[in-house]
Each structure stands twice: as structure tokens, then as C-alpha cells.
């Protein structure tokens, strides 16, 4: 299966290890993975700040990068959701539509398209799962505590395939971490307070790692963890699913 890898800009720049893990994992599972070299950003930071109208150049660049891809996979629920909901371009609407329909967040690609039943992964640690909102409530990667519907979780389903992992849930299973894009700086006080509260519930479970499908949430939580010199660290789910620690 041919996959075009979508690497969100901040992952490219700050967390290349997450993209490497994503690429290696997909390759292990038999995919041929390419990385379109001219990609930059999905445009979400502008759009969520009210500047969707200014992101036409960004959208055009995204379409040029991914127009020929059959499957597009990205290790970020939030960026993938943004593309799914908002990628349009007046000159390229057919190509944009094809991309909106062909883009997947990593875990949903693994469970729904590749239908992965087992993984050659081992990660002998206590791990807390953070349900990032855009992946969960936007892409429906898992059921939501507010809704009266059957329960499921694609990230959890995959993590359960990892040998040695001990998965722990925080008390509030799906509360937002407070990252929220530019919210994290324009509403700094609330953002940090939300993050501190999430971190506390995971630390109460004495986890070694907090994981999730969105590195942006994890970057925010990790910043708080490191500031308080916690022994807990944030790690992207791709790095766990690709790990083989003996």
C-alpha cells in the first residue's frame, strides 16, 4: 500500500523522531511510504485564529504536495481533522476533495485501513493515554464520555497490542489538556491550568509516560512536566507502537 506521509510542521521541526517512528512503523506493516518534500503546514494555526482567509497559499501548497496520493497519513489528529474539515481551494476543488477524503490520522489508518491485529512492539512501562480532542471528538478515534453510544477506542486498541505495556486512564478520561493552538499563548493562564490538572491525574497513576495521537497536546503537557521536574514524560503513540525495547 502506498502512503504519502504528512508531517505537521512542528513535528518536522521539533519532533522529527515522531515522524521517523511513523514512517518506520508504516514500513514495518508493509506500506511504501513517501514524504512529499515541499509540504509545510496544514494551515490550522491560522484558521483557528480566525485567519482561514489568509491560508490560501498554504492550502495550495498542501494540495500540490498531496494531490497524487492514494492514502495520506499523518501522526496528528488535529492537523488531519483540519484538512478533512477545511481544505478547499477555488482553483483546485476536485483535488482538495480527493485529499479531504483520502487523509487519515495514523491510528485510524492502522485500525480501519490496514486493519492491524498485532504489532511487533514492546514497551514495558506504565503509560497514561491522553485523548486529544480533535482526534476524539472530531475524527471519532474513540467514543466520548458525553455521548450515550457504544464505547471503543482506536488508540487503546493498538496500545493493547504492545507487549509489556501497562495502560492507565486518568480520572477524567477525555478532558481537554488546554493546548488549543494559539489559545496556549493568548489564554496562557487557563491553558496552563488545564494542562497542570491533566498532568496531575496522570501523575496520580504514577505513569512513566503520557501518550496520545497529537504531539501538540503532548508538547504542552511535556513543557509542564519538565518545568515541574516530573519523572513522567510525554511520548507520541507512534513512538510506542514502533518501539521494541528489550
Amino acid at each position: 500500500m502506498k502512503v504519502a506521509l504528512f508531517v505537521p510542521c512542528y513535528i518536522d521541526q521539533f519532533y522529527p523522531g515522531v515522524a521517523v517512528a511513523t514512517m518506520e512503523l508504516l514500513e514495518k506493516l508493509g506500506c511504501t511510504v513517501t514524504f512529499p518534500m515541499n509540504q509545510t503546514c496544514c494551515g490550522q494555526p491560522m484558521a483557528n485564529s480566525g485567519f482561514a482567509s489568509a491560508s490560501a497559499g498554504c492550502d495550495k501548497n498542501f494540495i500540490a504536495s498531496f494531490r497524487d496520493a492514494e492514502y495520506i497519513v499523518g501522526p496528528s489528529g488535529s492537523c488531519v481533522l483540519h484538512i478533512k474539515e477545511h481544505l478547499h481551494h477555488h482553483e483546485e476543488e476536485a483535488a482538495a476533495t480527493k485529499i479531504r477524503q483520502g487523509i487519515y490520522e495514523l491510528t485510524e489508518f492502522l485500525t480501519d485501513v490496514l486493519q492491524v491485529k498485532e504489532l511487533p512492539a514492546r514497551f514495558p512501562h506504565r503509560v497514561g493515554l491522553h485523548n486529544s480532542c480533535h482526534g476524539q471528538r472530531g475524527l471519532h478515534l474513540s467514543s466520548m464520555s458525553e455521548r450515550v453510544l457504544p464505547s471503543y477506542s482506536k488508540p487503546e486498541q493498538l496500545l493493547q497490542m504492545v507487549e509489556g505495556i501497562e495502560l492507565l486512564k486518568p480520572k477524567r478520561v477525555d478532558e481537554c489538556c488546554g493546548f488549543g493552538g494559539t489559545f496556549c499563548v493568548f489564554e496562557e493562564a487557563v491553558s496552563v491550568k488545564m494542562g497542570k490538572d491533566r498532568v496531575q491525574e496522570h501523575e496520580d497513576n504514577a505513569v512513566d509516560f503520557i501518550t496520545g495521537v497529537d504531539m501538540s497536546c503532548l508538547m504542552h503537557l511535556d513543557g509542564i512536566l519538565r518545568r515541574k521536574q516530573s519523572r513522567t514524560r510525554a511520548i507520541h503513540i507512534a513512538e510506542i507502537l514502533n518501539a521494541n525495547i528489550r
Binding site: V7, C9, D12, Q13, F14, Y15, P16, A19, V20, M23, F35, M37, T40, C41, G43, M46, A47, N48, S49, G50, F51, S53, A54, S55, A56, G57, C58, N61, C133, R137, G138, M144, S145, E146, R147, V148, L149, R172, D174, C176, G180, G181, F183, C184, V185, F186, E187, E188, A189, V190, S191, V192, K193, M194, G195, K196, D222, G223, I224, R227
Partner: protein, 456 residues
């Protein structure tokens, strides 16, 4: 006085962290009660769909239903008034009060009267109106607005209430027992009720088919007031209309469960005609609602039944308090309603959200609240209600991200700077760094790695 924007007011609220934690946990507990009630009904999601569809239908046929409602109310012997804005609403009520030379007035909870700033207005006219909902009476004593549309005094601790009651009701100093304080309010307010001449109430639902208005309370204050007084004035935004009495079943099943987790409020009272010798008025208010109805992206905010489930679930509301929203209706729903009332004054509110989407999930009438928050942001930027620095920054960012070569250079330079001169970003001017560490910049980007390891 300049109103503080949400971010600054929230920061001030959070400065008292134990109180913030208490506020957060208390409202989360209400959210959990809501979850339990919702999960108790297997048809919950179906009920939400019905409620949503009934409201969609009503909005699409609203002019007809308003006329039907008025016709039936008039036939029931009720006087119907129409107010285009808050000022007209206030004047209409003041005129009724003046015409009767009435002194003793009680009011049960009405968010519409808060929206119209009725309390300030009527006080300036030299008329005293006693709020009779316990929470509203507490904040009225303190000269504060309610901080929550269902739990008006949720920002206060029992110590605060005790001090307020000691001052106004001469309760024992330092007695913080809610039972004791409520009993004191009961004595005080029952006295107000039995002597009241005019009672003002809000309206939860107005039934077009019968001309009746429905008022829901737990305390019984709406009924105590209206059945004591010789004049009843019910105030409603025009979106309170529902077509038929049988539709009440859907809304009454959802309202209290969504609001507090109760299966229904203690009292769901249906007022159709004044009692013999009584006078009944209904004031139907627009105040920007018809404008909102004309905004396709935002009109379905008018489906709101004011349950406040979106407040209780909102992680931002729980940690910033209702007053940080500086409007009568706070929380996520307030943040999509208030820009319609005053775009400039409320331009901060759609940004007071992480867009987590929990609000839309709990909404009993399926308002796409978080999507409307996103859309309001686009409107506010377009209309120019955003700080110039933010505008410049985001436009610059958009330009950079549209140009891959510039992006790569900027990324590389940025990482290089962060590695060599971390003090340039790790300082108090960077809001990220204030309470969080910056990510450690790696030497190479993923693209660099890919070029070396895969692209040969």
C-alpha cells in the same frame, strides 16, 4: 470602566488556585450527574435529535408560530407586548409597574432580564425588585451579576454567602451551614412573596398551540410569586416558542437532566390564563435575535434552552469563572450568542475556547457550538475586531507557510537560534515559557533525516 477581556479576567480568577480547583471540581461534579442521567435513558441521543429537529422546524416557521402564540394568549386574557430591544423590554415592564403604582415586586430567574440589564435600569427608576431565586438573591445582595445561568452563585463559597447574609439578613456571624443559611433566606423570601403585588418571571417554553408559558424551577419561587401577586409579567426571548404542548415532553425530559442531572425540575408550571382578578402580561423580546436568525452559520444558536450543560462541561469555563465572560450569558453558548449583540465588546469570547468540542456533545438541542466558535473567529477577523499585532503575526505566519523554501530556512534558523541562544525564547516575554519548558530543538528536521536515510 473598561471591561477586562476574558484572558486577563481568567488569569485573575486562576490566581486563587484552591478556589479555581473548587470551582472546577464542583462543576465537574454537576457534569458527572448529567452524564449519569443521560446514560440512564437509552434513547438519549434520539431525544436530542427530536429536540433539535423540533427547534429547527420552529425557527423555520417562527413568524407563523409567534402570531399563533399571540392570538392564543390574547384569547386567554393575557396582554402581549413586543420589545425590539432590551431598553424597550425594560420600559414596558416599568410602565406596567407605574400604571399600577406597585411597590412590592418579586422576580424569579430570567436570563432575559439579565441580558436586558433590567435590574440596573429599574433600580435607577427608584423601584426595588427582589430576586427570589436563592442564588440570584445572594448575588443581588452583593451587587454582582450571576456567574452561571443555572447556578447563579456558583463562584461563591459558603463563607462568602454567610458574610453576605450576616450583613443583610442578620444571620449569625461565621455560621456557614448551607441548611441554616437557606432557612434564613426562606424566612426572608417567604415574607417578600406573601406581600408581593407584582411578580416577574422568565419563560422556559412558550406553547404556540395553547398560548401558555412554561416556567421551571426547583425552589418554587416562580409559583410563590405569581400566585401571590395580582400582576404577573412573563418575559421571553422569541426563540422560546415551541409548536405544541406535546413537544414539552421532549424538552422537559432533556432540560433538567442536562442542567443538573435531575430527572425533571421540582416544578414545571404551565401558565395559560391569569387567575380570577389577576392580570397577566407576556413581553416578547427580539434584542438581536432576528439578526442572529438571519446569519445562516449562527442561527441555530437560537435553539438554546439555557440548560448550561455546555458551561459545566467546558474546561475553560470551569477554570475561569462566569464573570470572566463579562456578559449575562457566559460559557460556550454565551460566546456564540454575545458577538451578535455587540461584536466589538465581545470579540474576545469566541477565542476563549480550545475548540475541544465537549460543549456540542452535551448540548441537548445539538447546537454545533464549537464549530460556531470557529466561524465567529473568522467573522471577527474579517470585520477587523482583532489586535493588530496578532493580525500581523498570523499573516506573516501564513505567508511563511505558503513558501516551502522560506519555511525550511526559518525552521532551520529558528532551531539553530534556540539551540545556541535559548535565552532568546526562554524568557518571560514568551507566554509559553512562563509556566512551561520549550521543546528541545533537534539539530536536524525530519526532512533532513529523510534526505539522508530514505531519499537516495
Amino acid at each position: 470602566m473598561k471591561v477586562q477581556d476574558h484572558a486577563s479576567a481568567a488569569a485573575a480568577f486562576i490566581a486563587d488556585e484552591p478556589r479555581t480547583d473548587w470551582h472546577d471540581e464542583t462543576l465537574w461534579w454537576v457534569r458527572q450527574k448529567r452524564d449519569k442521567a443521560a446514560h440512564g435513558l437509552p434513547e438519549w441521543e434520539q431525544l436530542r435529535s427530536w429536540a433539535s429537529q423540533i427547534k429547527d422546524h420552529t425557527l423555520s416557521h417562527l413568524d407563523h408560530y409567534l402570531e399563533e402564540f399571540e392570538k392564543n394568549a390574547l384569547a386567554n386574557g393575557v396582554q402581549v407586548h413586543w420589545a425590539e430591544d432590551g431598553a424597550a423590554h425594560n420600559r414596558i415592564i416599568h410602565n406596567i409597574i407605574r400604571n399600577h403604582s406597585i411597590q412590592r415586586i418579586v422576580k424569579s430567574k430570567s436570563m432575559l432580564t439579565e441580558e436586558c440589564h433590567f435590574n440596573e435600569y429599574i433600580r435607577e427608576q427608584g423601584v426595588e425588585v427582589v430576586d427570589t431565586d436563592l442564588g440570584e438573591r445572594i448575588v443581588q445582595f452583593r451587587n454582582e451579576p450571576p456567574s452561571h445561568i443555572v447556578l447563579p452563585a456558583i463562584h461563591l463559597k459558603k463563607q462568602d454567602v454567610s458574610e453576605t447574609f450576616h450583613e443583610h439578613l442578620q444571620t449569625e456571624k461565621g455560621n456557614n451551614d448551607p441548611q441554616y443559611l437557606t432557612a434564613a433566606a426562606r424566612v426572608h423570601l417567604r415574607d417578600k412573596f406573601v406581600h408581593s403585588e407584582l411578580a416577574i418571571t422568565g419563560v422556559n417554553f412558550a406553547v404556540a398551540e395553547t398560548g401558555a408559558v412554561v416556567v421551571c424551577t426547583n425552589e418554587g419561587n416562580a409559583d410563590m410569586g405569581t400566585h401571590s401577586a395580582r400582576v404577573h409579567i412573563a418575559c421571553m426571548g422569541f426563540e422560546k416558542i415551541i409548536p405544541k404542548a406535546e413537544h414539552l415532553s421532549v424538552f422537559l425530559r432533556l432540560l433538567a437532566r442536562s442542567a443538573t442531572g435531575q430527572p425533571i425540575t421540582t416544578y414545571s408550571s404551565i401558565f395559560r390564563k391569569p387567575r380570577p382578578g389577576q392580570e397577566m402580561h407576556i413581553v416578547i423580546v427580539d434584542n438581536g435575535r432576528s439578526r442572529q436568525l438571519g446569519r445562516p452559520d449562527f442561527r441555530n444558536s437560537l435553539k438554546c434552552i439555557r440548560c448550561a450543560a455546555c458551561f459545566n462541561t467546558c474546561p475553560v469555563y470551569r477554570r475561569s469563572g462566569g464573570h470572566s465572560y463579562h456578559t449575562a450569558v457566559a460559557g460556550p453558548i454565551g460566546s456564540i450568542l454575545n458577538p451578535n449583540l455587540d461584536m466589538k465588546a465581545n470579540a474576545d469570547l469566541p477565542f476563549a475556547s480550545t475548540l475541544c468540542g465537549s460543549c456540542s456533545n452535551v448540548c441537548p438541542v445539538k447546537i454545533d457550538i464549537h464549530e460556531q466558535l470557529w466561524k465567529w473567529r473568522q467573522v471577527l477577523v474579517k470585520e477587523g475586531y482583532v489586535a493588530p499585532a496578532k493580525k500581523l503575526g498570523l499573516q506573516g505566519m501564513a505567508w511563511l507557510l505558503a513558501h516551502p523554501a522560506v519555511y525550511r530556512l526559518a525552521g532551520k534558523t529558528g532551531r539553530w537560534v534556540m539551540r545556541r541562544m535559548p535565552f532568546l525564547v526562554n524568557n518571560r516575554l514568551n507566554p509559553w515559557y512562563k509556566q512551561r519548558e520549550m521543546p528541545t530543538p533537534p539539530a536536524q528536521s525530519f526532512r533532513d533525516w529523510y534526505l539522508k536515510n530514505r531519499k537516495s
